[in-house]
Symmetry: C2
Subunit: 365 residues, 2 copies
DNA sequence: GGAACGATGGGATACGGTTTCCGCACCGGC
DNA sequence: GCCGGTGCGGAAACCGTATCCCATCGTTCC
């Protein structure tokens, strides 16, 4: 019992090492560990002791190869730093953990190239599903690109889940978990309108982004419903960050200073807008009202606390994972029930959270 | 060439399928794909065409088993939602991607049980390293626990990296990437003291957490250096969230209302504190000054913008990954240079970021 | 012109488990 | 006392890929 095979004991212990040391067969060790086969108490004790002594863990790769293995779900984010995305990731991760699944996170940095590379990487990993987070630029190629992803993954026994972006057109094997983006914006704008605001600076976000488009559309609809003319000159597109909020308000104060409220596409944009107003000596909400979108923690940390639209990000994550898990079980015994391309589409509700950043207009228009 | 082996074509294409269809051997396909062996142009074309036709990707598990495979680094976070941690994760992930490494993220939810489970899971995955993020509760068992992790991982050819917590004692094979926590707090407190503040409400964070302890200690040292008596009655421990900041300030305003500044353990805590002060009709910084710690984006989104301590979170992530990568290469040709337990310890600097939340005291003490 | 050699491609094996198929005891029943 | 059933452990066949070793073919050098 002095020196075993190698001196360095390099690498990890294998199941064979355990078997040998316990004086049993490899099969027995496997059975003790997976526990899906009757094993005598005596054998179990012997094996477990050696397992503890050697601090043995099974090789996940080998296990996956042989058919078993932990299901894994991949989360692809543009930017892990975004609070909204982080919450979705938390939802996915939590639900995954609950089921004993593993979760991988990758960031794409808005780069289609990198997105492709990551999807392929995940395909190599044999993940149960790839969850794509965040709004998308719906340019011409996008639909084809996603459809290709969806089919590729589907063919490999995996599945594509789109979270926070509109569903794909046509018969594509992808699941979409979405929220009622437009209605949220509609409700938010209505809130401002019913408070008496007529001239509203709108900062929807990046022009091509689906979420920005939806939010803008919802706002517009609200104006129509209220019979208030919607001035395109009060719309300023730009990135979802506080700098844009700041710059846009500064510019608007110069060009069209008669607005009495700001409808920001995001809480972060609202934060920037608020800074700019303050910098110009305007008070919020006394002089100008502000509303946001997302209801991330920041919204309630600002002063005044931000009235915003609550988006159930974390729940979206949970729902996404549940959808994948259900589908996976459904494919079980009684034949594959998943027909060719069933594009499941789940929509979650949003609602306005009223805080302290809105007041009836005061300034003369 | 009509119907191949199975009808459903279930699962993914294997390298054998490709070889067969291209009329070459499995070895050749492997060589074409990995590209580390001379291959004729003709063969390469034939193989690549089939690869594209079949949309084939190699099985990462099989590849890992056979010796190749992408190095993977696991990131273990308490709560993916925390902005600071997210930045570290971003740093790790970015650096990993740059090297073609893969990164996994798991959340522990502050549960030692779950932490153990995750470390084992990662060990199964054969990750190159496990990066543990965030402050730790340095209770008695902690050191033993981490030492065990470190040795386990080391024995399996992996490595433990501690980020944002103090290094382990003794000869433990773990790398620590830390920042100068105490000095940051020292500088921050000095900033307040030199502005003239004498009665400072200190909200270090959770009592047992190493980061909170360090920050408190740094503050205390500053008081000593300035010859200002440090009143333990003005220290209030509690979680790193805005609710605690809010509640603590409210309570302090009732019990010891003579403080002129708040030294928060975190920007988020500072945000809560600010809310409470405002709710009580106190202006920031006119009536009470506030400083934070971390310099997350929130700090510059608050009004007034928060003076705080910048912690290079993202860089810490990058450094952590670099340390792992270097070590891995170092273990290469010329024998394992890593002696038994070289506890490498890297410390990054912090600095105060002066914004608008501090002013000389006004209120009478 | 023959032999040694470089450039390529193929067959076999290893990686570390899981799982199927078998065989060996040991048991009770007739 | 013999036979069939049952419970448990072992040997071996994969899982999909990388790589080692060998065979082959076309060159080039002597």
């Amino acid at each position: 019992m002095s020196q075993r095979k190698a001196i360095g004991d390099a690498g990890r212990a294998t199941i064979r090492d355990v078997a040998e040391r316990a004086g049993v067969s490899v099969a027995s060790v496997s059975r003790v560990l997976s526990g899906n086969y009757p094993v005598s108490e005596e054998l179990r004790r012997r094996v477990m002791k050696v397992v503890r002594d050697l601090d043995y863990v099974t090789n996940a790769h080998a296990r996956s190869l042989a058919g078993g293995g932990t299901p894994t779900v991949a989360i692809l984010i543009n930017n892990i730093t975004g609070a909204a995305f982080a919450h979705v990731a938390k939802g996915v991760e939590g639900a995954a953990t609950l089921r004993g699944w593993l979760s991988l996170v990758g960031t794409t940095g808005d780069d289609p190239e990198r997105e492709l590379a990551l999807v392929n990487l995940m395909r190599q990993q044999g993940v149960a599903a790839v969850v794509l987070l965040g709004g998308a630029y719906d340019f011409e190629e996008y639909q084809l690109r996603m459809a290709r992803f969806a089919r590729s993954l589907d063919a490999a026994g995996s599945h594509l889940v789109l979270v926070g972006r509109p569903p794909l057109e046509g018969d594509v094997p992808a699941t979409t978990v979405d929220y009622d983006n437009e209605s949220g914006a509609y409700a938010m704008a209505s809130h401002l309108l019913s408070a008496g605001h007529r001239r509203v600076l709108v900062l929807p976000g990046p022009a091509g982004l689906t979420t920005a488009q939806g939010r803008l559309k919802g706002a517009r609809r609200a104006f129509e419903a209220y019979g208030v003319p919607f001035d395109p000159g009060l719309v300023r597109h730009g990135p979802y960050d506080d700098e844009h909020g700041y710059a846009a308000v500064k510019a608007a104060l110069h060009d069209t200073p008669d607005f009495t409220a700001v409808l920001a596409g995001t809480d972060v944009v609202a934060a920037g807008a608020m800074q700019a107003l303050r910098a110009e000596g305007l008070r919020v909400p006394d002089d100008v009202s502000i509303v946001g979108y997302d209801d991330i923690p920041l919204a309630s940390q600002l002063t005044p606390q931000l009235t915003t639209v609550h988006v159930p990000y974390e729940e979206m994550g949970r729902v996404a994972l549940r959808a994948v898990a259900d589908r996976r079980e459904g494919t079980g015994p009684a034949g594959r029930r998943k027909g060719g391309g069933d594009g499941e589409h789940l929509v979650l509700g949003t609602h306005v959270v009223v805080r302290d950043s809105v007041r009836p207009p005061r300034r003369h228009t």
